[in-house]
């Protein structure tokens, strides 16, 4: 599996002050639900943040967040993916970079920007031009063989979230085996099981973000 080339300190992304975190994963895995679950925890921890969504054919995810009442709608930007959900986060992330820059200009104290990818497949990965660190979300209802398929998204992300763990017995998934497979293929990289409906695992995800890019432990 290819890996991102290491960037020396003087080549690193400059001019941006807020940490940028990507959230990718297949359609329906729970990316928007994860952001909705993260928002109150980030707010409780006094982390100044904003969100950029990438919708494929509508602005549904952006509107869902704006209307949720959880976050100031001005802190949610929508970037259309031009029919290419992975182009907009990988080959040509400039629309997302510009959206992040614009949010930073409007909210000078911003510490964190979450970039939600449009629903994609297991090959989806984020450009490190765009984000400092990224999460890949899969769900148990997609099948317990997903970790064994070793898609680049699942292998290369900084944090793997396995969502909808409560559904495992209803969809014939051996959750322990699925998590063990995920940890085995990812080596030392973390895996966090979540049930976003009940909040299971959400604090652990915020802990991971805080430790990785906000340097708060």
């Amino acid at each position: 599996m290819f890996h991102a080339l290491r960037v020396s300190d003087n080549e690193a992304r400059d001019g941006a002050s807020a940490a940028r975190v990507g959230i990718g994963g297949p359609v329906g895995s729970g990316k928007t639900a994860l952001i909705e679950a993260l928002i109150p925890v980030l707010q409780r921890r006094n982390i100044d943040f904003a969100v950029v969504t990438n919708d494929l054919v509508t602005k549904e995810d952006a509107e869902r967040l704006r209307r949720s009442g959880l976050i100031d709608p001005a802190r949610v930007s929508a970037v259309e993916a031009g029919a290419c959900p992975h182009t907009v986060i990988r080959e040509d992330p400039t629309l997302n970079i510009a959206a992040g820059d614009e949010l930073e200009a409007r909210f000078p104290g911003l510490e964190l920007i979450l970039f939600e990818s449009g629903g994609d497949n297991l090959a989806s990965t984020f450009s490190l031009d765009l984000v400092d660190w990224w999460i890949f979300v899969i769900d148990v209802a997609g099948g317990d063989d997903i970790p064994r398929k070793r898609g680049p998204g699942l292998l290369r992300c900084d944090l793997l979230v396995v969502n909808k763990v409560d559904l495992a017995p209803h969809v014939g998934v051996d959750l322990d085996r699925m998590l063990a497979d995920a940890r085995q293929v990812r080596g030392t990289k973390p895996v966090i099981p979540t049930n976003l409906k009940s909040g299971v695992g959400v604090e652990a995800v915020v802990d991971a973000i805080s430790a990785a890019v906000l340097f708060r432990v």
Binding site: R13, G15, L56, V57, T58, V79, E80, A81, G82, A83, C84, T87, V88, E91, D92, P93, T94, L95, I97, A98, D101, E102, A105, D129
Partner: protein, 223 residues
């Protein structure tokens, strides 16, 4: 030769500029004319090049190019483009495309792109794509002819790529259309652009299609 290589680099669809997310009316046009033939599409692209690109985008590009990096003069061209673009999604799309284009060049360390990006964020400039391209390409050392050819090529390839992605034609059919557009781009780019000419655009079908597209519930492109 370096300036030719610079032009190839800038016209390459792999250069990240955000352009892939915009169809500039093509998605709306294909939705309006479900019986559109490949020949109709080719005629539409030719009309867009003649009636929008050559007399509007190209003129704005050259005015900005000729500003020689003067931020106030570039901002004045930008305001002229803003005031002359009737359709809201074409106006905002052009600004967002320009912002993404500046983000690329600013990350690559181009000083004028950094200054323009900061001016856009400060509200001193709007960032329309043709205006930003003219300014930056002048700084990169492209001559006027190469800047126009890059602009015309990216305008044609952008809408054709959008149509391919929408499933309206095959990739090779699209390349055929693009290949047949090249002599037209060359011919249009050879036309003089005096400093006192006015911006003009007249492709009402595409404008109406873009306006209708803004109301669509489902769409793949931003305009």
């Amino acid at each position: 030769m370096l300036r030719v290589l610079q032009a190839i680099w800038q016209a390459d669809g792999a250069f990240p500029s955000g352009a892939f997310a915009f169809s500039y009316g093509i998605e709306g046009a294909l939705a309006l004319r479900r019986d559109m033939t490949l020949g109709d599409f080719e005629a539409l692209v030719a009309a867009m090049l003649k009636r929008r690109w050559a007399s509007y985008d190209r003129v704005a590009l050259l005015w900005s190019y000729r500003a020689g990096g003067d931020l106030e003069a570039i901002a004045a061209v930008d305001r002229e483009v803003e005031a002359s673009t009737l359709i809201e999604t074409l106006r905002t799309g052009s600004r967002r495309n320009g912002g993404a284009y500046l983000a690329s060049h600013a990350r690559l360390g181009q000083p004028l792109a950094i200054a323009l990006r900061d001016d856009v964020q400060a509200g001193n400039c709007l960032g329309h794509i043709a205006v930003m391209q003219g300014a930056v390409w002048s700084e990169l050392g492209l001559d006027e002819a190469l800047a126009q050819l890059c602009s015309g090529y990216t305008a044609a390839s952008g809408v054709i790529t959008a149509a391919i992605r929408l499933g309206a034609m095959g990739a090779l059919q699209g390349q055929g259309v693009l290949q047949r557009c090249l002599p037209l781009i060359e011919q249009l780019a050879a036309q003089e652009v005096p400093d006192d000419v006015e911006l003009s655009s007249f492709v009402p079908f595409l404008d109406i299609a873009a306006a209708r597209h803004a109301q669509a519930d489902l769409r793949l492109f931003a305009n």
